[in-house]
Amino acid sequence: MTKLLLQSPNPQATIQIGRILGTCLPRGSFVALDGILGAGKTQLVKGIACGLDEGGWAGLRSPTFTLMLSYHGGRCVLHHVDFYRLNEAPELPGEILEAMNSERDITVVEWASIWREVWPDRYIHVSIEVEDDDKRRVTIEDPFSICPEIPKALEEFTVQPAET
């Protein structure tokens, strides 16, 4: 699978898409997440967190201010990173770079395309576009087949089947 087009009718559905991703992403996955302010990036990560650890994670908040928040309770560690404030920084803080390249943990980076150069070699790219007040179009690209289960798992939200 390289590209999947999904429709999310409301924020709850965005969380649900995240939850499904969270259940099937393998350890060591790096997810680059894009979308403008208010698109629902943090909602999606909240979902991923729930997918990693059902029932927990109510405490997931925006990492914009602290740059990275790590959650240790689930199936594996989740690092939630935000590049929003890192624009034009001279270099990426070491602990973030380490998280992004981890083989054990899952790392999701919001505003990832601000700094495309620091992505690891293998990534999943998710971008959320605003269609109207609630509706979002979610594009998932998995060029390295990190998570082949995605198309089947997210079938109910798919508007355009996977291109290979």
Partner: protein
Amino acid sequence: MLILGIETSCDDTAVALVEDGWKIRAGARSSQEKMHAQYGGIVPEVACRVHLETLLPLLDKVRKEAGVELRDIDAIAATNQPGLVGSLYVGLSAAKALAWSLGKPLIAVDHIEAHIYAVHMAEKDLSYPHVSVVVSGGHTDIFISTGPTEHKLITRTLDDAAGECFDKVAALLGIGYPGGPAIQMTSLGGDRDAVPFPRGEGGPDGLQLSFSGLKTAVLNDLRKRGFVFEAEKNSGRMISARAPATPVPKSETRTLSVRLPLADIAASFQEAAVDILIRATLAATRKSRCKSVVLAGGVAANKRLREKMAAACKSQKNTRFAAAPLNLCTDNAEMVAGLGFHKLLSGQTASMDVDVLPNKDEKRLVAEKA
């Protein structure tokens, strides 16, 4: 007892000398706001370097202003949590070096607890317990406080911090950084009811706090006015509103290709944010039966929030309302030295191997889960 306070948890370098927990002998703060404004946010590596360059000259200045020698200081207090890792290290390491070389006790202070304590420095008759509302760029937490270092978390934002929401909405409106002062200034003369932004749900007990829905509502409002958004890669501001290529329908009273009613949007947004905070604060007050409410943190400097929360508290069983004085709202070292005094009195000193805890909240959440 003279305590030296050092605060470097984020982008402000601050040093202060405070006597007996409240009497400010001298204090100075060097803000990196201007430096980071060009990036639309804080750049950690830059912040670290500036802390390093600023801290010692600032210490010298404060010491001279107070007319004391280093040996006159009774203890050294520094923020060790939460905050940016590198920034915290600069302040804590300096404090350790001073404490070690002077042979004085070292005190590690929690930044959030210090913010709450700042209110006590101005209102000495304020007694515990009270509801504490800490609102800043990184935090929106409501606690029940029973002592200077005893705070029980009652509720916190589910997503964005209030200050972060101000920053991001200011970015959407293109009115600058930091968002708090920018929104406050822009909202002057604006109609608070112009746009009925949603206040979200308070949940069954009214304690639920969330700001991401409000942020999205501002985005949607701007889109309805015909603005389109684009993320600008590697530019100073990452997102900007752009007038559409085609003219806006005449039905819009103020056409946006001419001007966006910025004052109205800012005032309406600010009002909604304030209402969300007040709803949760009053709910916490009812739940805890506390007779006073304390407002602290950078966003506590917002005039409308202070004004409206004071009125809301008064109308709810005449609850006492105390906000941090304006000079102690944003990050400062006076509050660190002030709280340091109380920690020293109660024997809460730190050893030389005390570490920084950048996001201790998350560690605490996990600990509770386990």
